[in-house]
Symmetry: C2
Subunit: 504 residues, 2 copies
């Protein structure tokens, strides 16, 4: 369009005045620049939109739940707008149907708990503020024409200030933040509109009924169509964090000992798994939010109404504690100062055994949580982990003695010592300094520290099992397989063979 | 009341029928139980309220800002309600003044950035949805009487679904979440009410003007009366976290080495300081929120409009990384397995020197941030810290050599070695096992690790200093004191002096 118009313009100039200098080259350049600029802008804009749509598409594919939530909100709003479209309904609730639409838009959240919480908050807030507003109005009305606005103004100021301040109280903020906001809103509207509209009670009744309509549509839709329970999400989050910790721990230690052999063989998937613990590091806010929502939810699936959601926060905190330790462990893997390979080889197997038994405990816990059954193997797994801790400690104790006693080992013994690490380390060169051992010793002591932190998680999950009355495992096979390895240990005297098949 | 009624009832029974058995003892007991129950309930209720008020009072004393915010909201709502109370104003904006009240209640947040962001979101969301709503309405109107509700319904469903889904996109969620909600709300209201009310444009104009009134009152009050800038808060939070880390680090190491001497001398204030780093552990969500709000804020105080707030998030992340390390360090202090006192004594001073030079760097950084000036001493402090790292490493290297060479030191040397720890450790008993050294070695290696992490923070602050154009310190005294220690180090032939001065 712009191109054509400017061509026309040029053409006109040339026709109207034959001798006028030809403007073409200059305007042509400007024109071209402008077109180029437009295309660039448009191209940039289209590119941005394309990128945005691509991101949205990826999100939708990754988490179809979010698309479903969008559709549910659309459905709820369409339903509530029926109150306007249909004449009989419209006559019933009057022009206040707006409040129903507003309720749906504002109250509908992605999880059932959040929606329920907001609905209850909105209802209670509206009701309390409405009654209080009518009461204050009555007092103001009876205190004379002159005092009326003053009484109303002061009460509004005081109540709004106090209520706003109360939103900062942690206990209020966690559960009733929205209710307080609605309280302030309703009280202001009532005390303000009451000055004009004399049909206060009628108004209040209408508002409450429209809110009830909006809220019930929200609750019904959010609970009937693909309900997303905040409790389920919290439960899953904790399970996933446990599993991620387990994988990270395993990968970290494997990576540490692989490091010097093939330092470039660090593939993408492995590195992603290794960093899984980072999800646990920053999940505190999410956990608290979900636990708060979950408390509003009725009994659903395997969860009763008074499911001990707070215990999940406790478990979450101990998981984070463990994740901090793995973060430091991760630092050891990435560190520039590494123990020399021959030293690493000595503690390789025993460290791997401790890390795998630790991650085994974590996975057992995740499985127990997932199935909500008391794990029959957890005690055994913990025992194994503690045994590995003792072994590692022994290996460490025997380390310096030999360091002292053997001053000049032949180089061949260094090579030959290989992988048998339960035997005391006899082949360390006397020249290997403390600084060379230090990184390895730090890793070992972090692994030992980590095992202690895992036991705290075990206690947390056990408490949850008691509080939430997890069922005991009744599987006979499992209890059998539970016994046989115990026997094995005593016969073989090798802890490695005891390794119980993981149930995850 | 209940007491009187039940007495009356009893009296009546006795009078109406002379031979009826006397009910007094039983009802008396019930009555007493009821009264007791009521008192207990009332007492419990009053106790709860008292506790709540006490908590509120403490919060108000601790953070008077929050009280001020409450008063500001009260003031804003009172001001906006004037539009109702005063007839001329009322006639001006019509019955839609409700929207102004609603805007104030919903939009007024504690920080200027959050309030501004919400106002802008509300304005843009309302405007876009209003225009789109009118457009869709026009199309629906021209598509015939029968199709009209269908076109409106489908467009409402699709737009509401898509907009709700877009709220899950991280980029949208961070900045435009509220705007999208207002978009959905306005679009629903327009497309729904338009079916009834034919004065759509007038309605839209009224709504926009009332929203503008409410929003401008909010903005004026939040910016003029004790403004609370999200940017200021973020800046302060980062500074405080740096200081808390510094104190925690110091206290942790002091506590570690005091432990065995007077294990009960752990006072409250000390333990509180030691746990200060925990604030940094969980501040990610707060930092991100504040950074998002800060981006809406205009230039204020020392911050320009385009202040690099994102860089604060980067610094925050590296502070957290450091805090993870201190968390593990804290674990060493609380650990049951401790190195024996005589071993601790050997590394006491050098560890303390490293920790105090590390915390010195942190405090320098906090000071540089606070004053927004390039610290002239930071390079020196970092150099000192790295020197202490080298010293600690040397001390560790010399440890096992002496462990080997000196097999039977006289007990007197153990006692005599005391506090001079730059000299090689000559007095360790040959019998002290590796397990005894391990906890101490872990502590040392964590301290070394921590120093590396602190350098990452230093780099982050340096980047900020460049981005935000921190002024160089012009203080003469400081530059003098800057030179003298440098001289000292160069005389000592310390590798650290070669360290190129970083430009903070």
């Amino acid at each position: 369009m712009g191109k054509e118009a400017s061509r026309k313009l040029e053409w006109r100039i040339n026709v109207s005045d034959g001798v006028s200098e030809r403007l073409e080259p200059e305007t042509g350049a400007i024109l071209r620049a402008w077109t180029w600029f437009k295309r660039l802008m448009l191209g940039g804009f289209i590119l941005k939109i394309c990128k945005f749509l691509e991101k949205a598409w990826n999100l939708a594919v990754d988490e179809p739940k979010k698309v479903i939530h969008g559709l549910k909100v659309g459905l709820a709003i369409s339903l509530v707008s029926l109150f306007y479209y249909m004449r009989p309904l419209y006559d019933g609730v009057g022009g206040n149907a707006m409040w129903a639409v507003m309720t749906v838009v504002v109250v509908f959240e992605s999880s059932v708990g959040a929606t329920l919480g907001k609905c209850i908050n909105r209802a209670i807030g509206t009701f309390l503020a409405g009654s209080l507003g009518v009461g204050v109005h009555w007092i103001a009305f009876h205190s004379g024409k002159n005092l009326e606005p003053i009484v109303l103004g002061i009460s509004l100021f005081l109540l709004a200030s106090a209520a706003t301040f109360s939103r900062f109280m942690p206990t209020i903020k966690a559960r009733f933040d929205y209710g307080i906001m609605i309280f302030i809103l309703t009280f202001s509207l009532v005390s303000v509109s009451g000055y004009r509209v004399d049909r206060l009670l009628e108004l209040a009744q209408q508002r409450l009924s429209t809110i009830a309509i909006g809220a019930s549509i929200c609750i019904i839709i959010s609970m009937l169509f693909c309900p997303m329970w905040a409790g389920d999400e919290l439960h899953l989050l904790i399970c996933q964090n446990l599993e991620k910790l387990a994988h990270s721990l395993d990968e970290c230690v494997v990576e540490y000992f692989r490091h010097n052999k093939t330092s470039t063989a660090k593939d993408e998937a492995c590195s992603k798994k290794m960093k899984g613990y980072r999800c646990a590091l920053n999940s505190k806010a999410t956990e608290e939010l979900k636990a708060n929502f979950a408390r509003w939810e009725p009994a659903h699936g395997r969860f009763s109404f008074r499911h001990p959601w707070k215990q999940y926060l406790k478990i979450g905190a101990s998981i984070r504690n463990c994740a901090y330790c793995i973060e430091t462990l991760h630092g050891c893997v990435d560190s520039e100062t590494q123990a020399p390979p021959h030293l690493k080889r000595h503690l390789n197997n025993i460290c791997m055994r401790l890390s795998s038994s630790s991650s085994n405990v974590l996975q057992e816990l995740a499985f127990a949580l997932k199935t909500m059954k008391q794990s029959s193997k957890i005690n055994l797994s913990v025992g194994e982990m503690n045994f590995a801790v003792q072994e590692l400690k022994h290996a460490l104790i025997s380390l310096p003695n030999h360091n002292i006693s053997i001053k000049n080992p032949s180089p061949s013994t260094v090579e030959a010592s290989g992988n048998c690490n339960t035997e005391p380390i006899t082949s360390i060169r006397a020249s290997s300094s403390f600084m060379e051992i230090l990184p390895l010793a730090t890793l070992a002591s972090l692994l030992i520290e980590n095992a202690a932190k895992i036991e705290v998680i075990v206690n947390g999950v056990n408490e949850l099992a008691v509080l939430a009355e997890f069922k005991p495992t009744t599987d006979n096979k499992k209890s059998k397989s539970n016994q046989s390895p115990k026997k094995l240990t005593s016969e073989n005297q090798d802890p490695e063979t005891v390794k119980i098949p993981q149930k995850v």
